[in-house]
């Protein structure tokens, strides 16, 4: 399979939107990491930080829209920006960044910090599954025919290291009626760590604003 070269890349994950939301989410991502890195060394200061966080939460919550209204808002754009893998507005997403090339391959890139740890210094196996599942969805979108995961099979060949650039390459390999087959591999330093294949069934859930469902996730 050919490597993706920079000139061929088409960004498939959200890149533009509300810059302030992205910045707030990036700050919260830093906070998640800082909480984990700090540990219990400084109990007094942690109590102060906890209080400061709760003050921010309280201010954010007052006047926030109801759940239904907020869901309509977040699904109103063409490329939703809140999912748990690539969502730049979601502090829980690393976030994974995915590009597509002319051969139908997509390539996701991510470096995982300590919050995604399973075994010592190794990414949680379920986090690899999350990154792969999402990259498959983007690959299907890129192929023009996407849906929801029906079956996902992963073979873990090597531990996936934290703090190291990871690459997830995926491609739609076939479709028949509403069935879609997708394959891919997660690499660290060029070494295949996780190999996966999946069956998707075409179709998406309706958006909260009632617009026709699209293959945006």
């Amino acid at each position: 399979m050919g490597r993706v070269t920079e000139t061929m890349l088409t960004p498939l994950t959200p890149s533009s939107g509300q810059a302030v939301r992205d910045e707030a989410a990036a700050a919260a991502r830093r906070l998640v990491d800082a909480v984990l890195q700090t540990g219990n060394a400084q109990l007094g200061d942690l109590a102060e930080a906890t209080g400061a966080m709760d003050a921010i939460t309280e201010a954010l919550t007052s006047g926030a829209p109801g759940t239904e209204e907020r869901l309509r808002e977040m699904w109103a754009c063409d490329k939703p920006r809140v999912d748990a893998a690539t969502g730049v507005e979601n502090p829980l997403a690393p976030p994974l960044v995915v590009h597509g090339d002319a051969d139908g391959w997509v390539e996701g890139r991510v470096t995982l910090p300590i919050a995604y740890q399973g075994q010592p210094s190794i990414a949680h196996g379920g986090v690899s599954a999350l990154m792969v599942d999402h990259t498959f969805g983007v690959a299907n979108n890129w192929a023009g025919n996407s849906g929801s995961t029906a079956r996902l099979v992963l073979n873990y060949r090597k531990p996936v290291p934290l703090f190291t650039p990871l690459t997830i390459r995926a491609k739609q390999v076939g479709s028949e009626g509403r069935k879609i087959w997708t394959e891919g591999t997660l690499y660290a330093d060029g070494v295949a760590c996780v190999e996966a294949e999946a069956l998707f069934v075409q179709g998406h859930f309706p958006r909260p604003d009632g617009r026709p469902a699209s293959g945006a996730v």
Binding site: R21, E73, G118, P120
Partner: protein
């Protein structure tokens, strides 16, 4: 820790830890609330907060914590020093990314957790991301293997998604070790919502764990 089931009355037995409501447990819980409120903050002009200023305040907080943080290697030794750790992304009380799940172990070998997922775990509209289901199941398998007395690392994981997994409703995550042959461990489990099986999964684990930083105690 697994009790000797022949000497003990019927369980459930709490496997996951209980929050101390202070220190890092409380800080992680506050971070979780902040993440949720940030996602729920509206796009409309009537919103109370200037997100620019808010981002700066959160950066300041992260800076203050970073200034207190030990070197990464030291922190790794500390976080792996107890047999029961608190930092994983599924049950970890000290990890803001973890929902977190709380598992109980039962006499018939099953482990079970009930969790309600919010917007941060979304994939399709109102639904949990398929990868979040795999994350929760993979972790529940590790817990089930620990409960059964022999655990290891995931070698093969297969998931069948039968129905969408909804946000905002209680989900039941269940798992049990099926069999062991040498170092090979087979484990199975489900996620159900309102008694509907949404995801079924099974996995092969290979017994054994990577060494812990600082020589901390290995799990069984």
């Amino acid at each position: 820790m697994r009790p000797n089931l022949t000497d003990n009355p019927p369980v459930p037995h709490l496997i996951s830890q209980v929050s101390t409501e202070q220190g890092l447990d409380a800080a992680a819980a506050a971070t979780r609330r902040l993440v949720d409120s940030l996602l729920r903050h509206g796009d409309g002009p009537d919103q109370p907060l200037d997100l620019d200023k808010l981002a700066a305040r959160i950066h300041d907080l992260a800076d203050e914590l970073d200034a207190q943080a030990p070197a990464l290697d030291d922190r790794m030794v500390a976080m792996w020093a107890q047999e029961w750790t608190k930092h994983d992304p599924v049950t970890g009380l000290q990890n803001p990314i973890a929902p977190p799940l709380t598992f109980t172990g039962h006499a018939d070998g099953w482990v079970e957790a009930v969790v309600t997922l919010d917007i941060a775990y979304q994939g399709q509209p109102r639904m949990a991301h398929g990868g979040i289901s795999s994350l929760m199941l993979d972790h529940s398998f590790g817990v089930a293997n620990g409960w059964a007395g022999l655990s290891g690392m995931t070698a093969h994981l297969e998931l069948d998604y039968r129905a969408p997994v909804p946000l905002f409703v209680p989900l039941r995550v269940r798992a049990r070790q099926m069999s062991v042959e040498g170092r090979k461990i087979w484990t199975e489990g489900t996620i159900t919502a309102d008694d509907v099986v949404c995801v079924e999964a099974k996995a092969l684990f290979i017994a054994g764990h990577l060494p812990r930083p600082g020589g901390g105690p290995a799990p069984r």
